[in-house]
């Protein structure tokens, strides 16, 4: 009897260990790429930017060396532009005589570190990367952003060749809050897009590129062959992670997070139609386990040639084209997120470089921004496949020759028609996304998502009521 009880115990132990260990051994969930941001409010006005007119290059006292000997601490998120810039940092030191500590961290860890430091109020960060639509209201309410518009208006410290009006209006809009304050200079713009594998379109014999929601669904149906592990469609199904990309579909159906009066709008029939479409596509044509799918999972499948269309931010296109990581570099395609009854208005988002309001080196920090986002560096970034927001870079002959034509077309369209409202306009963006995320999961699992939408609507309204008016 003793022996058999040993056996039972051992079996139980084995089973439980296998179960728990398998759970733990599963693919570690990579950090969530917060969406590309956009300013939370309705298309933020590009603000009346005080323009230092460049043409005449008036005699000013501007001198790159004016802050020689100061020291800056620059905190960046690990992403293509910040990595692009890193090797050029010594050039800035040489140009200005300003010493720089340039730190790069993954997004989640970056937010943890900077918010801890800013909350403590004793941080020595001078320059940091931020997303207005994700944290703009929160940071602005806490008073952490320096007013970039004011710095740009000061000709004493602004390079006459800087020309802030060379930034596209939509680009500056992504870094402008509802109170009209410009809180940073946009680094690049990304938009809701369809990232595609043309080879699968050809194989399935469906027309490329799909333009409308119907085209997309037809193509997805034709391409999907689940037995062969080929999926016509991929999109984020992992709750809160999906809300940003869902926004492009929401706008295609002509709906929005809030109605004209600023009230929560999730029970709008058009909003519910959009959610039904989003859930249905994932359910019918997407890979299994949609509730766990974030951009990493989609991207891995896409890069391995298993997915026809992937709805996500355009920033990933550079990876699709990179033969070092992609098996579909030759056949990758991109288009703006599809057109629906409400038009074709993909969400647009950007990271922007901001100056910490408590910085002791604000003018040196402004010199850094002018250098990092001056015409010359931006053109270099543009040629390195970063979708910058300076008109001069897009129109430069070098880029017109070298750029991917599909990307240029889609980007040009998105710059003019994009909607920066990829997040609900509330202070507690995370909570709002969590609430809406539940609706997304219920929708693709085929549950009663309308009931969940009602709950999320109530929650969203509470969050809207709790959001302070920006001054």
């Amino acid at each position: 009897m003793k022996r058999s009880s040993y056996l039972v115990m051992a079996l139980v132990l084995v089973v439980s260990l296998v179960l728990t260990a398998c759970g733990a051994a599963g693919p570690a969930e990579p950090t969530k790429p917060a969406e590309p941001t956009k300013s939370v409010e309705q298309p933020a006005q590009p603000t009346d930017v005080p323009a230092p007119t460049a043409e005449s290059a008036p005699e000013t006292s501007f001198d790159w060396q004016m802050k020689k000997g100061e020291k800056l601490r620059v905190a960046m998120v690990s992403q293509p532009w910040t990595k692009f810039l890193e090797p050029y940092i010594p050039e800035f030191k040489e140009l200005t005589g300003i010493d720089i500590t340039y730190e790069i961290l993954p997004e989640d860890q970056f937010r943890q570190k900077t918010t801890t430091e800013f909350t403590a109020g004793t941080s020595d960060v001078d320059v940091f990367l931020s997303m207005a639509a994700q944290e703009g209201i929160k940071y602005e309410s806490a008073g952490w952003y320096e007013d970039i518009g004011k710095l740009a208006a000061n000709t004493e410290i602004t390079d006459p060749n800087f020309d802030i009006n060379d930034f596209t209006a939509s680009g500056l809009g992504t870094a402008t809050l509802s109170n009209g304050k410009l809180i940073g200079l946009p680094v690049y713009l990304e938009f809701g897009s369809l990232l595609m594998n043309k080879a699968l379109f050809e194989q399935a014999g469906v027309p490329y590129p799909p333009q409308t929601l119907e085209d997309v669904e037809k193509a997805a149906a034709a391409i999907t062959d689940k037995d062969a592990g080929i999926y016509g469609w991929c999109a984020r199904g992992k709750g809160a992670a999906g809300t940003s990309q869902f926004a492009s579909i929401m706008y295609a159906f002509g709906s929005g997070w809030v109605d004209a009066n600023g009230k929560a709008n999730l029970l709008d029939p058009k909003w519910l139609d959009a959610m039904a479409w989003y859930g249905n596509m994932l359910n019918k044509y997407g890979p299994p386990g949609a509730s766990a799918i974030h951009w990493q999972q989609c991207q891995d499948l896409v890069l391995q040639g298993k997915v026809g269309m992937w709805l996500d931010a355009s920033v990933f296109f550079a990876n699709l084209l990179d033969p070092a990581v992609s098996t579909i570099a030759e056949t990758a395609g991109i288009a703006v997120a599809p057109e629906g009854p409400g038009g074709r208005n993909p969400h647009v988002a950007s990271w922007h470089v901001s100056i910490y309001s408590q910085s002791k080196h604000k003018e040196a920090a402004w010199l850094f921004l002018q250098w990092a986002l001056g015409k010359e560096m931006v053109l270099k970034a543009q040629l390195a496949n970063i979708t910058t927001v300076r008109t001069s870079a897009w129109e430069s002959p070098e880029f017109q020759k070298a750029g991917n034509q599909e990307l240029i077309d889609a980007f040009t369209y998105a710059m003019q028609n994009g909607n920066p409202g990829w997040n609900p306009p509330v202070l507690a963006v995370g909570e709002a996304r969590d609430a809406i995320g539940v609706v997304i999961i219920t929708a693709h699992e085929g549950g009663d998502f309308k009931a969940e939408a009602a709950k999320a609507n109530t929650k969203l309204q509470e969050l809207i009521d709790a959001t302070p008016e920006l001054k």
Binding site: V14, Q112, A120, Q304, A324
Partner: protein, 290 residues
Amino acid sequence: MGSLTSMPQSSRHRSWFRHPIIVGLRTIVFYALLILLWFPFFFVFAWMLMGAFKNQIQNTAIPPLLFFTPTLANFETVFNSNPMVQFLLNSTVVGVGATLLALIFGLPAAYAIARYRQQRLATAILVARIMPGISYLVPWFIMFSQLKLVGSYFTLIMAHLIITLPMTIWLMIGFFEDIPRELDEAALIDGCNPFQAFMQISLPLTLPGISASAILSFIYSWNNFMFSLVLANQDTRTLPVAVFSFISYTQVDWGGLNAAATIITLPVLIMILFVQKQMVRGLTLGSVKG
């Protein structure tokens, strides 16, 4: 095939148990279960090692590749893109420092708690460990930045004490309680003062426990990411930060990440191989009875 016992002679009261076929079956079942138990731990490790030698396309292949042409490129990336030697040094300084301080303060504390029945004190110390580490970060940052100490080894070591000290104390309470009071009393009668009794009698008797808690402290400190993230600067960052530098906004470099993880795991693994016996003995002696 009824038994799991690995020692066949223990079943001598039933003769069929010693039948060769039964013995063979029992051995097979025993090892099968052993492998099952061992597999999950080994799998994670093997996955990391394999990933470290694959390129990105191989790493995301569906289904996963078991056979592939290995590459050393990931290790090159790790060493070229990060000051790994500096990180290793930082981790070592912080880990050793936090462990030593935990022993210096923790051993007498555990002894006092065990000998003088300070249960409330013990609970208070445990609460410090139960509190989520992140809740300490803001006050610490304010404190250390006012002292202009952010980014120093001193700050990191002090922060890591919140991990190592409670663990050392709690592990050691059990060990000290196991030592018969009479030994201490005898020492006192022979002319030791209480401190000498602690140093010369109790400490040598708890060596296995001390080494176990030292090793565990060191490992926890070695793997800690959050405190180093906020309280270290560019020059004092510790190893786990290196792993995270392979996760970016648009891509997870699985190869680099696994290579860095391998490099971080190796020193600890080697250390454990050397002190394994001490540690297992320490753990079974203390925790089971504590």
